[in-house]
Symmetry: C2
Subunit: 337 residues, 2 copies
């Protein structure tokens, strides 16, 4: 396929234009209308103004305005489980007719019985087997089409809302605000790079080349009657989580960020890499404190555990977003994202 598969091309999902256009008109009044006034919003705005003030002591040229964002739990919701895990489980069900052996083979047998607890009892090994079985063996184009089709209708089971509508409105505004100020915005996520690229441009205005994620090996083939393809392999090239995040940043960007946002201990090293060196920098953490509008969790959560990160934020002066008090709204109005 010649061009990148984008959601808008393959689905009738309510995936509309990004908010970039919508918020531009308000930029002069309030660039972050969904953020309540207070220390958090002030810290963001003061940092952006400092690094973009030509001649100021903290000025940073546009070429060095690199901003990195975790995805799960930072740009969109990650509860009750990662979106990509729901995709993988649905793929196990869809592929089951081709794999009769799965009816007795764990973790697939439990998945097919709808027993998620049993399926995930095998921990990382079980998840790795599920990912390998559902994320390799096909071309990158076929994989992208499968993700796009799934994503157009898949919903968060607890909120009964399309996953594409579970992004955070305040973070959309923050991405737009940074880009309007000359930043390049990158996703740096433990999620799969080929998975996220299907929706990153439509959801966040982040093109495929600015998506960094966990990456599987690929194999080039020139197939008769088909042409050149890349086959997704089960072997892992990069685990873009924890200490793998600075590695992914260096491999893909080759520059140290000056702005980073995460929400869990998996983001700790990315935040350290961004904010411990001298010079102007901003590190933010989305703290999930809103059990009513979203979910409330931190130090003891199975998904998105935030423990060391909270301690580091306090020690290093990073900005912790209190979702409940800092955000006027959490999700975009239905139909936007």
């Amino acid at each position: 396929m010649r061009f990148t598969i984008r959601l808008a091309q393959v689905s009738g999902a309510a995936v509309a234009l990004s908010l970039a256009a919508g918020t531009a008109a308000f930029a002069q009044t309030d660039p972050l209308p969904s953020w309540n006034d207070g220390a958090t919003k002030t810290a963001i705005v003061e940092f952006v103004e400092a690094v973009t003030t030509a001649g100021g002591p903290d000025f940073v040229g546009a070429a060095d305005r690199i901003a990195v964002f975790d995805n799960d739990g930072t740009l969109w919701a990650e509860k009750p489980a990662y979106v990509q895990l729901f995709f993988a489980l649905d793929r196990v069900k869809a592929l089951a007719p081709e794999h009769p052996e799965w009816t007795t083979q764990e973790p697939f047998a439990s998945v097919l019985k709808g027993d998620m607890k049993g399926a995930l009892a095998g921990g990382h090994k079980a998840i790795a087997e599920i990912i390998a079985a559902t994320h390799s063996g096909m071309t990158t184009d076929d994989f992208a089409e499968t993700v796009a089709a799934w994503f157009s209708t898949a919903k968060n089971p607890e909120k009964d809302r399309l996953f594409s509508q579970m992004t955070y409105q305040p973070m959309h505004e923050l991405l737009d605000y940074l880009r309007a100020n000359g930043f390049q915005t990158f996703i740096v996520s433990g999620g799969g790079i080929d998975f996220m690229r299907v929706f990153s441009d439509d959801l966040y205005g982040i093109p495929p080349a600015q998506v960094i994620g966990s990456t599987g090996q690929l194999k080039f083939e020139l197939q008769d009657g088909v042409g050149p393809v890349l086959i997704k392999q089960p072997e892992i090239a990069l685990v873009d989580d924890g200490p793998g995040k600075p590695v992914g940043i260096q491999m893909h960007i080759g520059q140290e960020p000056i702005f980073a946002f995460g929400n869990s201990d998996g983001d700790l090293q990315m935040l350290q890499y961004t904010c411990l060196p001298e010079g102007p920098s901003f590190c933010g953490i989305v703290h999930h404190t809103d059990a009513e509008r979203e979910w409330a969790y931190d130090r003891n959560s199975d998904v998105g555990k935030l423990d060391k990160g909270l301690d580091a934020a306090a020690a290093d002066g990073w900005t912790v977003v209190d979702m409940k008090s800092d955000w006027k709204t959490v999700f975009p109005a239905e139909g936007n994202n």
Copy 2:
């Protein structure tokens, strides 16, 4: 170190502004003044006009205007050997005092005696050992500083000209022309990604994030009294050559290019990946035919062998640049690049 090491910051080398500004003024008259009029230049200009003509049958939106360029032999000279090999050999000499064992251990012993033929007699294995010994064990920042310092004075031994002055003037103009027409320009080279990023922005106007190359593993460390660093490891993450080039393109860009330029069989799969699918595309090959101004070589060369690529170009209708007849000038005027 906070910001990317760039040549201009660390050396007094004659690394001036890119030609982007210089050629912009001529864009309306002749965007490619160093290219002789003829079929090659016409093919390039007609392609760019076709994909940028809104409403035309071959129009391609700016987001999909991805152009990829090999580096060695395509953007700069690769004879008598790759620039990076000269760097590695010089590093062996510089590091020898710390490695007394090298005086008797091949391939290092031959390098230290100035016996290049002996040093390279071990083939790929010998080169891999030299690269591992000189490209790993240090932080990415230290490596970049070392490359920048070396690059500021290192010369091509046959032409007695700074390597930074051995870029191709017509290719500078082509990069500028494409960018002026909304293309994103990427390097996709078998050369080391961390090596090329030191000079890619200064030489070609290509920022670090748009450089794809062979990549070593990295290890994140939070060092006491130093802070976060990335240590270059001897293990290889990506060999960005031959079938590895489409893999590197997918991993870094996530989109198929519509424009590709190479010069050797190591670029064959990148050209196939770009030009065999349906839709508008352009593939070019720099054919080294100018023994007087540069070097003349193709099917039987040890460096930059072009054999299958010439056959594929004929079969698939790719554009072959005859350096001798298509290029008015080869290298930039001294002091420019």
